[in-house]
Symmetry: C2
Subunit: 275 residues, 2 copies
């Protein structure tokens, strides 16, 4: 098995709950279902959002959310993270007032919801990022990654109904996060990378979810040059990936896949040893 820095903990009793039900024959059975709980995120004394999450890695989730929303520019901004399990609150602290807080204040004066501004900020940064052209992915790595990841014990295998994201290097998965919330898994990876000093340059991001515009935007913002999914594409996701020169590989199952952007980073080393 791979040398993960972080991997799923399907035996953690806080992440699933046992529920009694009936199967197709009417027999009483006990099923394991994924927990979802609210986590309210503060940036200093400003309440930002309440996320629905499976509940592990709240610090990485909070930091990663703020980084991926461009409310923080990097881990250097962060002076502390406090998590209160009973209150279901995580507070990310910075030394000085952030750009975002200043903007939110202005925005509140004109009333209404700040979501529009935030999205505008995201795209502004997206357009400035240059992904490394010399990063590479071999087709043999892809096969090996798919196999290792799907065989790793996970909440998905134990209880289903959860998304997974894995940061990989060559044919090795490094950070495997899962969450019920659509983008929480990738935000946790972002938080982990920033706080534990993991660089993005040669990495590959693998996701179980669809290759939507939001997924492409987050990957580019994290400066990861290659995004892989076992699931499919949306047209806007493909368009943004081409704009940013992100390598976008979907429908990756067994030895099969389709690349719809940045295929210049793929090395076809023709290892076809499975399926």
């Amino acid at each position: 098995m791979a040398r993960y820095l972080v991997k799923p903990d399907p035996h953690n009793p806080k992440l699933t709950s046992p529920v009694t039900g009936q199967d197709e024959t009417g027999t009483q059975i006990e099923a394991s279902v994924v927990v979802e709980r609210p986590l309210t995120l503060y940036l200093n004394d400003q309440e930002i959002v309440t996320l629905m999450t499976v509940g592990d890695h709240p610090g990485y989730l909070g930091a990663g959310y703020l980084l991926n929303q461009n409310m923080l520019t990097g881990a250097a901004d962060i002076t502390g993270i406090d998590y209160d399990e009973d209150l279901e609150v995580v507070v990310v602290r910075t030394d000085k007032k952030t750009n975002h807080e200043a903007k939110l204040e202005r925005r509140t004066l004109t009333s209404g919801c700040a979501q529009g501004t935030v999205f505008g900020d995201m795209m502004e940064r997206f357009e400035t990022i240059e992904l490394p052209r010399d990063a590479q992915i071999k087709t043999s790595w892809l096969q090996s990654l798919s196999r290792t990841i799907t065989q790793t014990p996970s909440l998905y295998l134990a209880a289903g109904a959860i998304h997974g994201c894995v940061l990989c290097e060559a044919d090795e998965p490094l950070i495997y996060m899962e969450d019920v919330g659509r983008h929480n898994a990738v935000d946790k990876i972002s938080g982990y990378m920033a706080l534990e000093n993991i660089t993005a340059a040669g990495k590959i991001l693998y996701t179980t979810g669809r290759l939507t515009s939001e997924m492409v935007i987050k990957t580019v913002q994290m400066e990861i040059p290659i995004l892989v999914s076992r699931s499919g594409f949306t047209a806007w996701g493909v368009e943004l990936a081409r704009q940013a020169d992100l390598t976008l590989i979907g429908r990756a199952k067994g030895k099969r896949f389709i690349a719809l952007a940045g295929a210049h980073r793929i090395e076809y080393d023709g290892q076809n040893d499975q399926d």
Copy 2:
């Protein structure tokens, strides 16, 4: 094939776009990917939200969104629906100012985002709904529905990366909607039911997506007593289904399934003729 009132139209050229890419051997291929486009929804002259959608059935989507958010109480409120394809705008019109618009105005005075109020309203209605206890689902219907739905030509089969929702009666699928947006497919069904006078009492809602709290809340609000998915459960989804006495059936594949709420509506008629 079933007598659908509405079914997917995978050959509609507006819903997918052809994209050139490379497969696992490096051969150039043409793939079909699902389109996502913005649709801005107005309730009279109040801008409500911009949804990302595949783009079919904008009128049903707009009406269904407003109904499922409790911004409208029923189709009787609606005096007209205008859709402008070039502007990507749909306007739902009512005779008199709705309850929601009055609330939004008050809310704007106190500043901030109205999302909290809206969610509060949703739960208020959820708690008052009594689903019919005498509705029924036979295990033989479940098998037959799963088979018919998965064999129906769809955008999912043609291009992947899309959610599907199907309103069914006994073993017959009636309204099959698909969308890239997580809840748009179910909102389109809600709009269709309201505008075309389809009653909810004996119906079954089938979804390809997970049985989350939001999916359970929408089904209950639509007063549909039975919700089925080929995918899995979350703990909060199960809890809310039990609270509302919704029949919640998940992991439905071939003849297998698990029921985690409202199993009293299931008749085990033991037809095991497939898989």
